[in-house]
């Protein structure tokens, strides 16, 4: 499968792809609701306002430079020549979207990139919940949408070196989800855990989210958004026929369903009751894992991808918190980084519908995962570490005690809400 060159989409294909891209903001809304619901009530308005602001910043940064660096297959790009071959590593487009011809496939790619940058920017908000300053999250997003995301998206979708070696990611399991998830991991390391999360022996205490209804409603919205994300990405970047959009939707839904059921079964077996917030995380993890190979795996393969993604989320959330001291209130690292990388690896053995079978496909997928860990994680950590040196990203202790709604916005999300003593961390 090769990326579609500008002008190759038929009129109906263009229209369908455009409609699918218009669904993507639903996934951003879904993730924003999930993040808000999994945080504490006194940070709910801050969480939603942060989501809106980071999407705005991501759109701006992507418009200024991101789109030019991401580029599109067949457009100008910088390449390094080594060992007798060209390594296409960054787009050489014009800033401010000046090189985009509106009306062609490249304009759809730019719109997809704009939405994808916003979605990637919302992911770290889940891990930095209850303690990440609004200004700092916006600054971090600017770096993500201007540097990290476009660079990796160029490698995968812009005709870059990963695409050249056969790496396949239809809907953004790597460029959007894993990049966002690894940025979320960097943010949890830089911010440190919430006050009261770990006791002096390092044992975590439960700080449950304040609104499970928001979280579960977010899952439904995310589902709708992912149908658009995976469909549009596959048509635009992997040359999938428009008629295969049905298979993509079926695979996406099956992966999410099986992941949520796997989480429900595992939590019921282990704890005696089904955990609602983990089920929500499992649902999204299934969507994320399906993104990579939704266009090239059979429905039975999507069920396998979802089942393993769900199991991974349960154990990854627990492992990160209990053994690695990572405080990730929204589960962003497990849901987006771990499940995203699993989805990428699963393409290797499960891509039954690839033309010619591509026996070496899994090697390309492993190289993609190695690039995420060996390039994206150090890059995003380094950028956020520098930002933290310039201006502390974590809110002051008073802000954490008072709640970010009052401290940074001056008004709470629920002005008539009664507070309880046990809602506050021990002083």
């Amino acid at each position: 499968m090769t990326p579609v060159s500008p002008g190759e989409l038929s009129e109906s294909g263009f229209a369908i792809c455009f409609i699918l891209i218009l669904l993507i903001p639903c996934s951003a809304a879904g993730l924003a609701l999930i993040n808000a619901g999994l945080g504490r009530f006194r940070n709910a308005a801050h969480s939603m306002a942060s989501a809106l602001c980071v999407v705005a910043v991501a759109a701006g940064a992507y418009f200024f430079v991101g789109a030019a660096w991401q580029g599109y297959a067949g457009q100008p790009a910088y390449a390094l020549r080594a060992a007798g071959r060209d390594w296409n590593w960054i787009g050489a487009g014009r800033f401010f979207l000046r090189g985009v011809e509106f009306g062609g496939a490249s304009s759809l790619a730019a719109l997809f990139g704009l939405a994808g940058a916003g979605l990637a920017a919302i992911i770290p908000l889940g891990s930095g919940a209850d303690r990440w300053r609004l200004g700092s999250s916006c600054a971090s997003t600017a770096l993500l949408a201007a540097v990290t995301y476009p660079l990796f998206a160029h490698w995968v979708w812009g005709g870059g070196w990963l695409a050249q070696i056969g790496f396949l990611d239809s809907g953004g399991a790597s460029a959007i989800q894993a990049v966002g998830g690894l940025t979320a991991l960097s943010i949890t390391w830089i911010l440190g855990p919430r006050r009261g999360k770990f006791n002096s022996e390092g044992m975590p205490s439960a700080l449950p989210g304040h609104n499970a209804v928001l979280v579960l409603l977010g899952c439904f919205l995310a589902w709708l958004g992912w149908l658009g994300l995976n469909g549009a990405g596959a048509i635009l970047f992997t040359g999938t026929e428009v008629t295969r959009a049905v298979l993509i939707a079926v695979n996406t839904t099956l992966a999410a369903s099986s992941a949520a059921l796997a989480v429900a079964a595992i939590t019921r077996a282990r704890f005696g009751k089904t955990d609602a917030s983990l089920c929500a995380n499992g649902w999204v993890a299934g969507l994320v894992a399906a993104s990579a190979g939704c266009a090239v795996i059979r429905p039975a393969g999507a069920v396998i991808v979802g089942l393993i993604a769900g199991a991974l989320v349960v154990y990854s959330v627990e492992w990160l918190e209990l053994h690695l001291g990572v405080d990730d209130p929204g589960g962003s690292v497990s849901v987006h980084a771990v499940a995203g990388m699993w989805g990428l690896i699963a393409v290797g053995p499960l891509a039954a519908l690839l033309p010619g079978g591509r026996p070496g496909q899994w090697l390309g997928q492993l190289v993609g995962v190695a690039s995420l860990l060996g390039f994206v994680l150090p890059l995003t950590y380094g950028l956020n570490w520098l930002l933290n040196r310039l201006s502390r990203q974590r809110v002051a202790i008073e802000g954490e005690r008072q709640g970010l709604d009052l401290y940074e916005l001056g008004a709470g999300a629920y002005p008539d809400f009664l507070t309880h003593n046990d809602d506050f961390w021990q002083r």
Binding site: L324, L366, G374
Partner: protein, 59 residues
């Protein structure tokens, strides 16, 4: 320990690139990439452990 972990992550990725550029497709390239992933796993472990130790020091 943290810096060493990140250096190992980058080193592993560099080995992957080197395998793709210098070795012919086949078992040698595959084993080189798998070894590089092992180095990355080691680096990731070091970074996680350094942050765990940092958290304990803060307390």
């Amino acid at each position: 320990m943290k810096l060493m972990g990140f250096l190992l992550l980058v080193a592993g990725w560099t080995l992957v690139l080197a395998a793709l550029a210098l070795l012919p497709s086949g078992p040698s390239q595959v084993s080189f990439v798998l070894m590089a992933l092992g180095i990355e796993a080691l680096g990731l472990t070091l970074v996680f452990r350094s942050h765990l130790a940092l958290g304990r020091d803060r307390k």
